[in-house]
Subunit: 219 residues, 2 copies
């Protein structure tokens, strides 16, 4: 599911409380309604939305009671900063994904040989610590990205728009580009790309050649 749909669902306090409850144990409507202090009718409506999105499912037990549980494994990340607003959602990767292919990152956790309880518990602990460290690392990266863009904004100009400046420069760094190509690359209208290039040309950072726009430092 896309991040917009997920944010719409999670933007409601009672739906978040329902998910928190169902993450503990499967529940039926009356239980949820009593726990939340919300009418069964409203609970049913929330459940319907969550079920339609595939986040929850129901199962009927021997006493014909309908129990709801969380059906899906999904992860949402949102970054808000003066240099960007981005949200993405994704399903967990399956076992075949090779985490060692990462170029900038290495993990020290093994998930094999889960034969006995002790190994299961220690792997669980390691994974939970790793999850925490990955969050810290992402906060660190977001901090550094802002530092770099701040410094960028000093060097190249652009102020609050320096993200676009940076994207344009990154794009022309590898090879000369036309305004049309750049507009596609950085997903910004041609007029804005043209303005950005003019402003950086005035500062001697880029130049126009017959091959297209390029860094003045490129040979």
């Amino acid at each position: 599911m896309d991040s917009a749909a997920l944010l719409d669902l999670l933007g409601n306090e009672n739906r978040r409380r329902i998910l928190r409850l169902l993450a503990r144990k499967p529940c039926y409507v009356t239980e949820i309604s009593e726990y939340l202090g919300v009418s069964p009718k409203a609970v049913i409506e929330h459940l319907r939305k969550l079920e339609e999105a595939g986040l929850i499912e129901s199962r009927v037990d021997d006493q014909r009671r309908k129990y709801f549980h969380i059906a899906r494994n999904v992860r949402l990340e949102v970054n808000v900063s003066p240099y960007g607003f981005a949200s993405k959602s994704a399903y967990p990767s399956n076992n075949s994904f090779d985490i060692t292919t990462c170029r900038h990152l290495s993990l020290d956790v093994t998930c094999d040989d889960l034969d006995d309880l002790d190994e299961l518990l220690s792997t669980l602990e390691d994974l939970e610590q790793l999850e925490n460290e990955l969050s810290l690392a992402q906060r660190w990266v977001q901090g550094r990205l802002c530092d770099v863009l701040d410094q960028f904004s000093e060097t190249v100009g652009g102020g609050p728009e320096s993200r676009i400046y940076a994207d344009v420069l990154s794009s022309v760094r590898t090879e000369p580009k036309s305004i049309g190509d750049l507009s596609q690359d950085v997903e910004v209208p041609r007029e804005i790309v043209a303005d950005v290039l003019e402003s950086m040309a005035d500062r001697g950072i880029v130049r126009r050649t017959e091959r297209g726009w390029e860094l003045t430092t490129s040979s």
Copy 2:
């Protein structure tokens, strides 16, 4: 700001579109209203909520026009899985945070010597790749956590409640605990902890001694 407040704000499509717009460049009300196709009155109301939360700020320019921009750097993460629902929000860490103290994770990116444009651009690229890899790693961890809890649920029982079973076992693993201590540790009512312990005692996984509840494998 806490993750609930952030989710409430981001749960609205027009507020997300406003943030996306402001992340590109500072805007004034009429601009936003025309871009979104939403009345200025509604835009002002959205801006008020975003401003109250500290996510955006305004500045008045020479022509007395009030421009809004994103003021805050914040990160939100939500995990939904059959074994849990967790959301957290955090500010980026500042430079003094030492990322090398992580036990399970090492990063290969340097952010020093940002003297010239080329270094800035290549650091920016590295950080963006690292951000991507960290997301992949988190999806990998979430997948493995589910695998481990699935297997846990087979070994120990508990089915959809196996997260509580795992938390209880992790807690008694280091030292014997009373039901009261466990209830605090895993943040679950005493009755549920007692049920979980009984069920695992029946399976020969834990036992009660005079020091408290402990793993049967502990000596």
